[in-house]
């Protein structure tokens, strides 16, 4: 059976696309799938450092697409997690070094070898976005509960629809305490505004920064709430579509709890 090609995109930068790609990829691999993640952010690569593989890059996605190396030579094996592989972006090539045709051909080859091909899309809606999206069967749009990110997500969702892809939404960096106070859009608000199906809700978590510092995946950290949430996204993509989407809960202090009860009355 041929593998699925899924693009992770957002429009706006800095909302957690790369973190999401690395962790969904790791989750799918832990579940026993053969997974390759591709960094398509030519010139500004980061997926390699998030995964702790920055010292092992020889060839890149541009080399593989342009035939400067065999595809196998550009694929880096993650030694910490079995079945997880990375094709890094090039740091020196021009942003327009790739074409949709080249990326489609690469993905057609990869899907014969892997169960999942995850594409980490660059921010923006220019050439890099077009290259990343053209090869994908499915799409996950990442946004945070902020006005700027939701507006850009809406734009990207529209562009995906026009390409015949029905995307799913991952809401990242939810702060449950702020949602409870009414100072952050709830996931229901976001879903209502964007009218799109959810694939996961991920809370704000200090562990994200710590794991990125160390170059290790969150999903293997038992005490990480974000890691748990990303793992559930991976499970849902992996066919457990009835796995409930958990709404992040905060750690309310004793006094906050009393205040909350009083306000309800």
């Amino acid at each position: 059976m041929e593998g699925r090609v899924i693009v992770i995109t957002s429009g706006k930068g800095g909302v957690g696309k790369t973190t999401a790609t690395a962790n969904i990829g790791a989750g799918l691999a832990v579940e026993g799938n053969r997974v390759v993640v591709i960094d398509m952010d030519i010139g500004l690569r980061n997926l390699d450092v998030v995964m702790g593989l920055e010292n092992r890059i020889v060839f890149t996605v541009v080399d593989a697409v342009k035939g400067r190396c065999k595809i196998k030579q550009a694929v880096i094996k993650n030694r910490k997690i079995d079945n997880l592989y990375l094709i890094p972006a090039s740091q020196s090539d021009n942003k327009d070094a790739l074409t949709p045709e080249g990326v489609i051909k690469l993905c057609e080859n990869l899907r014969k070898e892997f169960d999942f091909v995850l594409i980490d899309c660059p921010a923006g809606i220019e050439q890099g976005f077009v290259n990343s999206v053209s090869a994908a069967d499915e799409a996950i749009v990442v946004c945070t509960p902020e006005v700027t990110s939701i507006r850009d997500a809406d734009r990207v969702i529209g562009l995906l629809y026009s390409r015949g892809i029905t995307p799913k939404l991952l809401i990242n960096r939810i702060v449950p305490e702020m949602v409870a106070k009414g100072d952050m859009l709830s996931h229901r608000d976001v879903v209502e505004v964007l009218s799109i199906e959810l694939v996961g809700l991920v809370p704000m978590d200090d562990q994200v920064v710590i794991c990125t510092n160390n170059g290790v995946p969150l999903v293997t950290q038992k005490e990480s709430k974000a890691g748990e949430a990303f793992w559930r996204v991976a499970m849902r993509i992996n066919g457990h579509s009835n796995l409930p989407i958990e709404v992040p809960k905060g750690n309310r202090s004793f006094w906050d709890k009393i205040g909350f009860k009083l306000r309800k009355k």
């Binding site: 809406d154 734009r155 106070k181 009414g182 100072d183 859009l185 608000d189 505004v193 306000r263």
Partner: protein, 91 residues
């Protein structure tokens, strides 16, 4: 304790403002209409309906909503009708 009372009295929630602003912004982005165009549209609709019915011009509301088909927008015009103009047209 002061903080607690401040929380109690706080009615305006910033997320409601965010949601309203977003809904309007996304609509304008998508349809590429501005406030001026909507005002013109409002004026024209009032004019057309007034030819057939007696209406309260200030009570007419124009609203964009999500249609049943997810990615489509629907224009909803709401106006109380005060009376028919049939008689005056016949006269």
């Amino acid at each position: 304790m002061f903080n607690f009372f401040k929380k109690l009295s706080k009615n305006g929630q910033s997320k409601d403002t965010a949601k309203k602003r977003l809904q309007i912004t996304l609509l304008y982005d998508k349809l590429e209409v501005s406030k001026d165009i909507l005002d013109d549209l409002n004026r024209d609709i009032v004019e057309v309906i007034s030819r057939y019915f007696e209406i309260d011009k200030n009570a007419l509301t124009l609203d964009f909503r999500k249609a049943n088909d997810e990615r489509m927008s629907a224009l909803v015009v709401n106006t109380p009708i005060l009376g028919s103009k049939q008689k005056s047209r016949l006269a």
